[in-house]
């Protein structure tokens, strides 16, 4: 038992923000949470950086323990929660009644626990496939109708668990052989819901969670009969960790890059000492196969848009030898967005990698077999997530998955092409070194841009970009999908997006701007973001030309802009000055600007712009 009772406030703070309680058992976390609640005001005062969020929790079960356990997890992820808890069994009333406390609360996030006990109808045994399908379809449609109703009246994102198939097998092995069995049916309902769910609903994979945990432990019928808990007490931390991580992703806190050591991490042996022959990646040797399997896992992470980087104490040319010449090495040099092999300390190298990739230190995850290196990084760079790497390489892949650092809410085409585009960066750097001046370099890039109104099919990416961009972001306004829906249908709003390609890569949709027509012939730049991938290309100038055209089209005489400083958007502190806007007001660092439409002289750039209709 953790000796909690003696804990001082500063220790609670340290325990929570270091996440060191993640490994505790549920009853200790309940006690921690109780202490936290007593000190919450002080904690919030000490941490103005916390992101406040209104979180509603409901289900057809007791959610009190989950709420209690969630609290320290959310703080650990930088979120300051305000909770609304539905009464036991109050889900339907909350959803259907527009006067309910749920709607009054106006949640940002709505967490709903579902369970197999929610289902009232099951197929009759030996029903044919069609009949089973029909029943599943009716079940899913009735749920979807409820959620569509909710969505009409709330802008909340919904975290809805799928159904965990229980450890009940009345039919024995026939459960898996009959389409009409209950367990088969539950899987069908899960599948069908996935296929038909709207994008404001994010399914929480309770089915996988319970299977990994062990269904015989996950399901605790005694806890259901006594206090209507849908799963056992010790499953609460598992659910809470997943929910808080995804909630954090909603606020733009995501990991983007996995930084890897080389020796005894990507292969067995030390290349500097053992030479190429001493490197074990032998598919016919248990240890070699384990490292090789880990390389395959890493390739899959790279293919899903996670950047891979190397940070190793080695001589660069010697380290590269393995990728170039080892017969079994699966990963190639091109798979890495950054490659640092030198004898500097790893904290400095991590800073360098973040800078090179133009991402924050807090987007990095560090994977190193050496506990001493991990400790140094932990103490010197607390923003970097450091994975507890198991001693056995056979466990590397599962440890990486289980750590869940790359639990994102969405995956876009841009995510998938990101790795290739970083590889192209290397070539671009070579070009810039051979060009005489920057303008010549920009011209040699042969850039093509499409600038215009966002289309239906692009809105998901548009929203994602606005919600996760931190650096080039004038006002750091975030929008839920529902708010975005309303915005896109607002006639006074022009949602502008830019798509850029150059001769090395196609970046896709990399800038978004929300323009709003206001009273007195003014056009207001409500939001403007750009991916760091395309900084310093003069794209902002090409976009301003379009913004002015939009202003004219709306009959506006003046364009208003605003810069609100955050810890991360210093990059655009002078953007509007540089674009020729006049500073008209300044208060607490927030600066307001104006640009006259009639005296605007279009900017020249090296970008070939395809103008699109307004």
């Amino acid at each position: 038992m953790t000796d909690l009772i003696q804990i001082k406030f500063s220790d609670i703070e340290q325990t929570i923000f270091s996440g060191s309680f993640f490994q505790w058992n549920a009853s200790d976390i309940l006690s921690l949470s109780r202490k936290l609640m007593k000190q919450e005001t002080q904690l919030q005062k000490n941490h103005p950086e916390l992101h406040p969020l209104k979180i509603a929790i409901s289900g057809t079960c007791n959610t009190q323990y989950l709420t209690r356990i969630l609290r320290p997890y959310l703080y650990a992820f930088g979120i300051q929660p305000l909770f609304y808890e539905s009464v036991y069994g109050g889900l339907m009333n909350d959803l259907m009644n527009l006067e309910s406390d749920l709607y009054r609360f106006q949640p940002d996030v709505f967490i709903v626990l579902r369970q197999y006990r929610d289902l009232e109808a099951y197929p009759e045994l030996l029903s044919p496939m069609d009949a089973v399908n029909d029943l599943a379809e009716r079940e899913v449609q009735s749920q979807l109708a409820l959620w569509q109703f909710f969505h009409k009246h709330s802008s909340a994102q919904v975290f809805l668990t799928n159904i965990a198939v229980p450890n009940r097998h009345v039919l024995g092995n026939l459960e898996a052989n009959l389409v009409s069995s209950r367990n088969t049916y539950l899987r069908m309902v899960n599948d069908r819901f996935l296929r038909e769910k709207p994008s404001f609903i994010h399914l929480i994979d309770q089915e996988a969670m319970s299977a990994d945990f062990g269904k015989d432990r996950w399901f605790d019928d005694s806890a259901w009969f006594i206090s209507k808990q849908p799963f056992c007490m010790d499953a609460l931390p598992v659910m809470a960790l997943s929910l808080s991580r995804l909630t954090a992703a909603l606020t733009g806190k995501m990991k983007k890059c996995l930084v890897l050591d080389l020796d005894n991490t990507l292969w067995g042996g030390v290349i500097g000492d053992d030479g190429l022959e001493g490197i074990n990646l032998d598919p016919n040797h248990a240890i070699g196969e384990a490292y090789l399997d880990f390389q395959h896992t890493l390739k899959r992470y790279q293919e899903r848009g996670v950047l891979l980087a190397v940070c190793s104490k080695n001589d660069q040319t010697i380290a590269e030898q393995v990728f170039l010449s080892h017969p079994y090495c699966y990963l190639k040099l091109q798979d890495f967005a950054a490659f640092t092999a030198n004898w500097n300390n790893k904290a400095d190298n991590l800073r360098h990698i973040a800078q090179q990739l133009n991402i924050g230190l807090d987007s990095l995850v560090f994977f190193d077999d050496n506990p001493a290196e991990r400790e140094i990084v932990r103490s010197m760079l607390p923003e970097v997530a450091v994975l507890d790497v198991p001693a056995d390489p056979a466990q590397f892949s599962v440890a990486l998955d289980k750590a869940g650092y790359f639990d994102w809410l969405q995956l876009s085409k841009e995510d998938l092409s990101r790795a290739q585009s970083y590889a192209a960066d290397q070539e671009r750097i070579r070009l810039s070194e051979s060009s005489v001046d920057y303008d010549a370099y920009l011209a040699a890039l042969e850039m093509d841009a499409r600038i215009g109104r966002v289309s239906r099919s692009e809105t998901e990416r548009f929203t994602q970009l606005i919600n996760k961009t931190n650096q080039f972001n004038l006002r750091t306004v975030r929008y839920s999908e529902a708010e975005m829906d309303r915005l896109l249908n607002d006639e006074a709003v022009y949602p502008l997006r830019a798509i850029l390609a150059d001769k090395f890569s196609n970046y896709g949709l990399i800038s978004a701007c929300i323009l709003r027509k206001q009273e007195e012939k003014r056009l207001w730049i409500e939001s403007w973001v750009m991916s760091c991938r395309v900084f310093k290309r003069d794209l902002e100038k090409a976009m301003l030309n379009h913004i002015v055209a939009v202003a004219k089209n709306f009959g506006c005489a003046e364009i208003l802009g605003e810069y609100i400083p955050t810890a991360k958007n210093g990059y655009v502190a002078n953007l509007l000055d540089d674009l020729g806007f006049d500073l008209i007001a300044e208060e607490n660092g927030t600066r307001r600007y104006s640009l006259s439409v009639s005296s605007y002289v279009p900017c020249e750039t090296k970008i070939h712009v395809t103008e699109e209709t307004m």
Partner: protein, 80 residues
Amino acid sequence: METIEKLQKILQDVFDDETLVIDEHTSAEDIAEWDSFSHIHLCAAVEKEFGIRMTTEQAIRVKSIQDFLRIIEENHSGTL
């Protein structure tokens, strides 16, 4: 540590009161915060500390330190 001392620490922890002193006659009625919510928390903490698993009947009936002592005793004599 004696079983009763361990229980005292658990109760101090669950009810977040380090001054709480118990004896075997202490019951739910003596502790204002011993409600249905903290009852489940308490049972879970006792189960963890003593490595036991209470039956549904035991979990709903346990109302005092004496009850806990008996349950711990029974569980351990049963498994040892």
